[in-house]
């Protein structure tokens, strides 16, 4: 096997510190970007449902802008133009990277959240209101818990997509996984070993994230049965852990 003999993993091993740092940078960029993106996305999603024009239009234009322009352009714009203009100097690739990922994923999350809320039947909020709940209470106790369950699969998708999109921050010299691969590829003018390593590391992260998403989805699904109560009879199943039945 000439091909296998020719593979040189030592070149990747020599740069292992860079790959390990890359793993942490990618992971923290993604998680911070995701959490920030959900918080901001929730506000924007509600904003897009608002009847008040001064809330609706800014939310709408925000989503239009960040969904309608490439993330790569947003990263460059934030890192090279917006942050240096506001602060007089750069705040480093990490701040720029997190900012770009938060702002970008918030736009996608806003649409997921808006669609999730709109998918709940109008009768639900009418019933809640007729029980004497205020519109805030019916949103909080009746609509959101049901909508949240439907948002979990697309929000999980968004996490995986964000993880992969985070590789774009390499362009502002963020020390992420792809950056490590590029440095090794350049140092030796070899491309198989570094980029396969990069692919495996991303695959590892998406695999772990996928497992977590599946668990969360199951946990909140309609037919969820808590592990300890497995002996409960079939006829009772529908009631256990179900929300809104």
């Amino acid at each position: 096997m000439d091909f296998l003999d020719a593979i040189r993993w030592d070149i990747v091993w020599n740069y292992r510190d860079l790959f390990i740092r890359g793993l942490w940078i990618t992971l923290s960029l993604t998680l911070l970007g995701y959490i920030g993106g959900i918080i901001l996305g929730l506000l924007l999603g509600m904003g897009k449902l608002s009847k008040k024009k001064w809330i609706y239009y800014p939310s709408k234009y925000y989503v239009d802008f960040f969904r309608g322009t490439p993330l790569l352009v947003q990263i460059l714009l934030i890192h090279l133009a917006i942050i240096p203009t506001i602060f007089g100097h750069s705040l480093g690739y990490f701040v720029s990277g997190v900012t770009a990922l938060v702002l970008n994923s918030a736009a996608y999350n806003a649409e997921i959240i808006r669609a999730g809320i709109q998918s709940i039947d109008k009768g639900q909020s009418e019933a809640a209101r007729s029980l004497g709940m205020t519109s805030k209470m019916s949103m909080r106790y009746i609509i959101l818990p049901q909508a949240l369950r439907r948002m979990i699969p697309p929000l999980g998708n968004e996490l995986i997509a964000l993880l992969k999109d985070s590789s774009l921050v390499t362009v502002i010299a963020a020390n992420d996984i792809l950056y490590a691969g590029k440095v090794v590829a350049g140092a030796y003018a070899r491309f198989w070993e570094p980029y396969i390593t990069v692919a495996i590391l991303y695959l590892l992260l998406t695999y772990v994230f996928g497992k977590i998403i599946t668990y969360v989805e199951k946990r909140f699904s309609n037919s969820y049965v808590p592990p300890k109560k497995k002996t409960i009879s079939v006829t009772d199943r529908g009631r256990v852990g179900g929300i809104g039945r």
Partner: protein
């Protein structure tokens, strides 16, 4: 009847696809080797003033002028293709192009995988710092953050100083980006080839920067890079480079004498 018609359609599709593919193959071999007259040359046109695109999208620069002169001398035709820095190496290795010109420094590591022509230009690294910086030499960068263009010889030099995997190295895609990282405060200094740094300073006189020279940088020689074992082409190019040196034409283009 219907079935046979379907079969015919599938057959027609396959034929046309295979025709298309074979067409592509022919086109490639034409471009790469051809009749020995026309050569395809890869470059990374983001490196003003050595090679860059002018406002009409044409690839121009000092490197390009030199290769044009070489081509004239050797009596060959040249077609430039903009590949980008990293793809350029695999394009040469795969034989997609005949050779590459892109301010490529001749190094021992690269010589393991590629052949080079004789040097046609020499460069040395310069340090670019803000005007009020206290940096006086390359050694002063030891505890500083330094920006470079990724995988250039400047990057190599800084890796030797700060360590292969140091997080104080800010390695960006292009030299202009590396300089803006320094200006925006992400790095204390930028290190790059003399031609590019001087060009930047010339084009941006209002930005308060100073250039530091350091003799500890090794002098670097640019060469035309080709696939290993391409002796015939190497000989042709070297002959042309030699006669350009003899006639003084090379000095005319670069502005200095290349020994």
């Amino acid at each position: 009847m219907k079935k046979s018609k379907k079969l015919f359609l599938v057959g027609a599709l396959f034929t046309s696809v295979s025709l298309l593919l074979s067409g592509c193959g022919e086109g490639d071999s034409d471009g790469a080797s051809g009749d020995g007259e026309k050569y395809v040359v890869a470059t990374d046109a983001t490196y003003a003033p050595m090679e860059y695109m002018d406002d009409s999208g044409k690839i121009v620069g000092i490197d390009i002028d030199i290769v044009d002169a070489i081509a004239e001398e050797a009596g060959i035709e040249i077609e430039y293709k903009n590949y980008g820095w990293e793809p350029l190496f695999s394009a040469v290795q795969n034989g997609e192009v005949d050779f590459a010109v892109s301010s490529i420094t001749i190094t021992d590591e690269r010589k393991e995988t590629f052949d080079f022509s004789d040097p046609y230009y020499f460069a040395n690294q310069l340090i670019l710092v803000p005007e009020d910086s206290d940096v006086k030499s390359f050694d002063d960068l030891k505890d500083k953050k330094v920006s470079v263009q990724i995988n250039t010889t400047g990057h190599e030099a800084v890796k030797d100083l700060l360590g292969n995997t140091s997080s104080s190295i800010v390695a960006t895609e292009t030299m202009p980006l590396a300089i803006s990282e320094m200006i925006n405060g992400n790095a204390d200094a930028a290190v790059g080839d003399n031609a590019v740094i001087n060009e930047y300073k010339k084009n941006n006189p209002d930005v308060k920067l100073k250039v530091i020279e350091d003799d500890s940088f090794e002098k670097e020689y640019y060469g035309l890079m080709m696939k290993k074992g391409n002796d015939e082409l190497a000989e042709k190019l070297n002959e042309a480079i030699q006669s350009l040196k003899d006639s003084g034409k090379l000095e005319e283009i670069t502005g200095f004498k290349v020994e």
